[in-house]
């Protein structure tokens, strides 16, 4: 079932020395011996009473420790066949290979649970790490996605597209489907190794969706750390390409599954469920609205190949100056669905298509920011709940267009 392992002879020798393990904690962000020592202590505290220490493996990037064969404080260490990651994982860091390597090692070790800690382990508490592993070991969960603390204007693409789309299509209300820290069961690892790796590169949006499609149990763990941010964030259109490209591909791959899903259900949260940490304030959204209006003027020719006439008429209304700029959630949901369909039909170059969506996404951000800037935390959460509900309500529109893409939509 599993694909053949491709590990170096040194790693093969090290794996042969280990007679299996119960838990593997993979920490690709470790860079020094000192950080590794601290991480080992963290793992020891986190898994106290959950798994015996000699059955717990801490996997670190190759080169994080001068002598990989030498144990730190008696812990079982294993070098990974890739270098240290530079902060929040980006597509340029061979994410797909990294995930495949983690799956293969977990399979070879025969672990019951594997925690992949992509954030800086120095920020993580023992309780948070425990929440990633304990539900897998004790309650038969298969995937634990992270909950981070974040401001109302952070992770906007997750709030605007990824989380609502996963909720509407796959029926699970996962707040951070693209988190850098996850807990995985052996069932999930075996499942991933059995799936073809083609099309599963880029950001791992496929991890929760594959799990849901396979009927595996998904949970969320509050990590109590800020949402990891990339040190040099790319411009908005590039972010859209990096996130929506894999997401739309995943949608195409799982079309047979999500068309059968009706409604959505909440996903259990381990630890505090609150995640909003900032204070209300004012923001400047004029530039984003300008970009949208410019997009409507100059990109209308491209949009008309993607969006139906009624949507274009509604967008035209938004170009007229008004006291408040509001992009209705239903309209936004239909726009995202139309772009997903255009991506599938290859109406134009996929890269161009997603980049052409940028002014529309900025219009959503401007509308959302204007609405929630002065709202209380509960108001912000309620607002995002409305976005998710709108995506769910508009799902029949996507199903209909997906099945009969040539049918005329007024």
């Amino acid at each position: 079932m599993a694909e053949p392992t491709t590990v170096s002879p040194e790693l093969e020798q090290r794996l042969a020395q280990l007679s299996g393990a119960e838990v593997a904690v993979v920490m690709p962000a470790l860079t020094t011996t000192e950080s590794l020592r601290e991480a080992v202590a963290l793992v020891r505290r986190a898994l106290d009473g959950l798994a015996p220490e000699n059955r717990t493996v801490v996997a670190h990037p190759d080169g994080a420790l001068a002598d990989p064969a030498h144990p730190t404080d008696g812990a079982v260490l294993l070098p990974l066949p890739f270098g240290a990651m530079n902060g929040f994982p980006g597509p340029g860091q061979h994410l797909a290979e990294m995930y495949r390597a983690v799956f293969r090692l977990s399979h070879r070790l025969g672990v019951r649970a594997c925690a992949l800690v992509g954030s800086d382990p120095a920020l993580l508490s023992a309780d948070a790490l425990r929440r990633l592993v304990a539900p897998v070991l004790e309650q038969n969960f298969d995937l634990i996605t992270p909950l981070y603390l974040r401001g109302r204007f952070e992770g906007l693409l997750l709030s605007a597209v990824v989380a609502p789309l996963v909720r509407a299509l796959y029926g699970r209300r996962i707040l951070f489907p693209l988190g850098a820290d996850v807990g995985m069961s052996s069932r999930l690892v075996e499942r991933q190794l059995a799936l073809p790796p083609a099309g599963r590169d880029g950001l791992p949006v496929w991890l929760p969706t594959d799990a849901v499609c396979a009927g595996l149990q998904v949970g969320q763990a509050q990590l109590g750390i800020p949402l990891p941010v990339r040190r040099d964030p790319p411009e908005v259109s590039e972010v859209l390409v990096q996130v929506l490209g894999p997401l739309f591909l995943d949608l195409e791959r799982n079309a047979a599954s999500w068309q059968k899903v009706r409604g959505s259900q909440s996903v259990p949260v381990f630890g505090p469920a609150r995640w909003l940490v900032d204070e209300p304030g004012t923001v400047e959204v004029g530039r984003m609205i300008d970009t949208f209006r410019l997009g409507y003027r100059d990109l209308q020719g491209l949009w008309s190949g993607v969006l139906p006439p009624a949507t274009l008429v509604e967008l035209k209304r938004l170009t007229v100056p008004a006291p408040a700029f509001r992009l209705p959630d239903e309209l936004w949901a239909r726009i995202v669905y139309d772009f997903a369909l255009a991506h599938r039909l290859r109406i134009m170059s996929r890269d161009h298509l997603i980049r052409a969506m940028t002014p529309l996404y900025l219009a959503w951000v401007a509308s959302y920011a204007d609405e929630v800037a002065t709202a209380l935390p509960l108001g912000v959460e309620y607002r995002l709940e409305q976005v998710g509900a709108a995506f769910e309500a508009q799902k029949p529109y996507l199903v209909s267009r997906w099945r009969w893409p040539d049918r005329f939509i007024p």
Binding site: F153, R346, H352
Partner: protein, 229 residues
């Protein structure tokens, strides 16, 4: 004397009639060849169109991004039309052979020698048009996303520059124009660059200097509160 005139007239009339009589079969043969070629071409185009439609040729071309460079016509229609006209051209050449075999074979040889140039020119032009549209679209999207007010103008400029370049390359392959094409192309490009330089150097001098001054004096910007990922 009148007898001589009549005789000369008779001879010339009979020569002309004989000439026409000689040409008429060849002319009828040309017409017949053209008619047959037209019927065959139409039939071939019909079959080709049906076949291409059955294998979803248009859809595949659309997916590959080759559909939007033949606006108003589907790629299968274009292929069928090209095939039909090639058959008609063949029929015409067969018909012309009926007049003078030596002349037409020489003409055919020259035409066939020219065919590779024609194909290369068409290929250059087609690739140029596809590339121009693709790059212009990319420029337009990037410029809009950067909030540039003249995004459409910029994109159109890029598109026409690439189209002119492709056309110049195609003409060179066809051997048309020769040095005139080189000269015109150089003048056009040089003109565009000079115009831009003058526009910025003279027209927007103050604006550019103000913008540079602002850039130099600008304090470290506050990070935007928006994080997308």
């Amino acid at each position: 004397m009148w007898d001589q005139v009549r005789q000369a007239l008779n001879e010339s009339v009979s020569r002309v009639v004989a000439g026409i009589a000689n040409l008429l079969p060849a002319f009828v043969a040309l017409l017949l060849a053209l008619l047959t070629a037209a019927v065959l071409g139409w039939l071939l185009a019909f079959i080709l169109r049906r076949f291409l439609r059955s294998v979803d040729f248009d859809g595949q071309m659309k997916r590959l991004g080759f559909a939007d460079w033949v606006p108003g016509q589907s790629p299968s229609h274009l292929v069928a039309r090209t095939a039909m006209w090639l058959v008609i051209l063949l029929g015409f050449m067969i018909g012309v052979t009926a007049f003078d075999a030596a002349l037409t074979s020489a003409l055919a040889m020259r035409l066939f020698q020219y065919v590779p140039n024609l194909i290369a020119a068409l290929l250059v032009l087609a690739v140029g048009v596809v590339l121009a549209r693709f790059i212009a679209r990319g420029v337009l999207i990037s410029a809009v996303n950067r909030n540039l007010q003249h995004a459409a103008l910029l994109s159109m400029g890029v598109k026409w520059m690439l189209l002119v370049m492709a056309a110049a390359m195609a003409l060179e392959h066809l051997g048309i124009g020769g040095r005139i094409v080189h000269l015109a192309f150089g003048l056009l490009f040089g003109g565009i660059v000079l115009t831009l330089a003058l526009a910025i150097g003279l027209g927007s001098k103050d604006m550019v200097s103000r913008s540079l001054e602002r850039q130099a004096a600008k304090p470290e910007e506050e990070p935007e509160p928006f994080r997308h990922l």
